[in-house]
């Protein structure tokens, strides 16, 4: 593994493309007739008074009805002020989250300053777009990215479609939901959302939204959830069962 001495590009993905093409995540499509790949749902994010919560269930399914695991992790802390949740095809989605985390860290170390929140969201959009050929073949990756914007002093959510199209919250609405149970989770938010919720109220609402999704969606697990709290102080795991 030689040292490369060309450094015009601070991007980790750019480095992979130039020198380690074999490590660039690339799944084109499933062969026709193959059993569908393992997929992961449901993910949600919700802004509140002090920041933003991002959460997911822990089930991974094959074809939407065979439970592969009740223990998968779909929410990843990406740095000290943001986290990503992933829905869609499990393999590429987890790889994308890992690549994204490395990308942020790499940029910060090479340049000496972290990327802006908007810069990170754009980078993620490009990665999703890169996965588009696989997405149209039935292997979509649809993340939600949430972070604390220190300049604006509030939590911000970025929701994506499979082409990398970016929807910035709370400009449109102060919450996001994605994955197969996303519709029910979103409906829960629409009913119960209030401005300036406290942390406890917001966390209960997030858990309730995931619970409603799990009730009717077999691809969503109802037993265990991961919830991350992102505020000016950093990213904290506040999953049920963690407290005390």
């Amino acid at each position: 593994m030689p040292l490369h001495l060309d450094h015009s590009d601070p991007s980790f993905l750019g480095l992979l493309r130039r020198h380690y093409a074999e490590l660039v995540p690339r799944i084109e499509s499933l062969p026709p007739g193959a059993v569908a790949a393992v997929s992961a749902t449901t993910i949600v994010a919700l802004t509140y008074k002090d920041g933003v919560l991002i959460a997911a269930d822990r089930r991974a399914t094959l074809g939407g009805h065979i439970v592969m695991s009740e223990d998968v992790v779909k929410v990843f802390k990406t740095d000290e002020q943001s986290a990503i949740a992933i829905a869609g095809t499990f393999g590429p989605a987890v790889k994308m989250a890992k690549l994204f985390k490395t990308e942020l860290e790499h940029y910060e170390k090479i340049e000496g300053v972290p990327l802006s929140l908007e810069g990170r969201a754009n980078k993620l959009s490009q990665m999703i777009e890169m996965n588009f050929p696989a997405a149209v073949q039935g292997l979509p990756v649809m993340p939600i990215y949430a972070g604390f914007d220190k300049e604006r002093g509030e939590g911000v959510i970025f929701e994506y479609d499979i082409t990398g199209g970016t929807f910035v919250k709370p400009l449109a609405e102060p919450y996001a939901a994605s994955g197969s149970g996303g519709d029910r989770a979103r409906a829960t938010f629409e009913h119960f959302f209030k401005d300036d919720m406290t942390f406890e109220v917001a966390r209960d609402l997030v858990i309730r939204a995931l619970g409603f999704a799990a009730e009717k969606d077999t691809a969503t697990g109802g037993k265990r959830f991961i919830v991350m709290n992102i505020t000016a102080k950093g990213v904290e795991d506040v999953s049920p069962g963690k407290e005390g």
Partner: protein, 238 residues
């Protein structure tokens, strides 16, 4: 292309290159790395605010370079790339200072022998282990040697010929104080600054020109590297 090696013996060529680099490094600021109670600290004299001599390579690994800025900056970035590639390809725990230092040594050795102008640098790679016993420090000179250091390392201020080598005096100054393994950070930083100040022309370093970073195993996240701001340095050492 005109190639000197057609006209000069290889030995003579290496001596010429060595003299050239030593002349540059004689003007480089020294950097001291020292073990303290929670990890390893690195202290440098650096009048620049944003052009740093010390930096983060990976979770538990830090880098320091002195000499010509563009040379050590390129090496620093190459080290970050290597570490991130390895951590991405395998796992975070598979990234080690030893393998990065060995790559640096290979590259610097190759460049010194094969290129007309060698890199005019001296660099240091430090890693904190789970316990102080597992700390690692490697210094790598411009010619590509790899030296493992224990508890303390000094790079820079490499004076040549008959002049005394200040680096040796900095080492001696610190050794004479016999710093214990549980030395608090403030004392370690003061000792390093005093050692540089004792041999430096013009006496003590201006505190505004001190650059201080640590690898601190008590930091709770994966990345154990921390840079002190100039205000924090004044509070700590003032």
């Amino acid at each position: 292309m005109f190639d000197l090696s057609n006209f000069i013996s290889p030995k003579q060529l290496l001596v010429m290159k060595q003299e050239m680099v030593e002349d540059t490094l004689a003007m480089a600021y020294p950097i001291v790395a020292l073990r303290y109670c929670d990890g390893i600290m690195m202290l440098a004299e650096n009048p620049s605010i944003s052009l740093q001599k010390t930096s983060e390579i990976y979770d538990r690994i830090a880098f320091a370079g002195t000499g010509v800025f563009n040379d050590y900056e390129r090496l620093r970035k190459a080290g970050v790339q290597l570490a991130d590639i390895r951590g991405f390809q395998y796992s975070r725990s598979d990234v080690s200072a030893r393998s990065i230092a060995s790559e640096y040594s290979t590259v610097l050795g190759d460049i010194f022998v094969r290129q007309q102008v060698p890199m005019e640098v001296e660099i240091l790679v430090a890693e904190i282990g789970k316990t102080p016993k597992d700390n690692r420090m490697y210094s790598i000179p411009f010619s590509g040697g790899l030296i493992e250091e224990q508890g303390m390392a000094v790079i820079g201020d490499y004076l040549n010929k008959e002049e005394s080598i200040l680096r040796g005096q900095i080492r001696q100054f610190i050794s004479e104080q016999n710093p214990p393994a549980d030395l608090p950070l403030a004392d370690a930083a003061k000792l390093a600054a005093a050692a540089i100040g004792a041999v430096r022309e013009g006496g003590a370093i201006n505190i505004a020109n001190i650059e201080l970073v640590v690898l601190d195993r008590t930091i709770e996240i994966e990345r154990k590297f921390r840079r002190f701001s100039s205000e924090e340095i004044v509070t700590l050492m003032g």
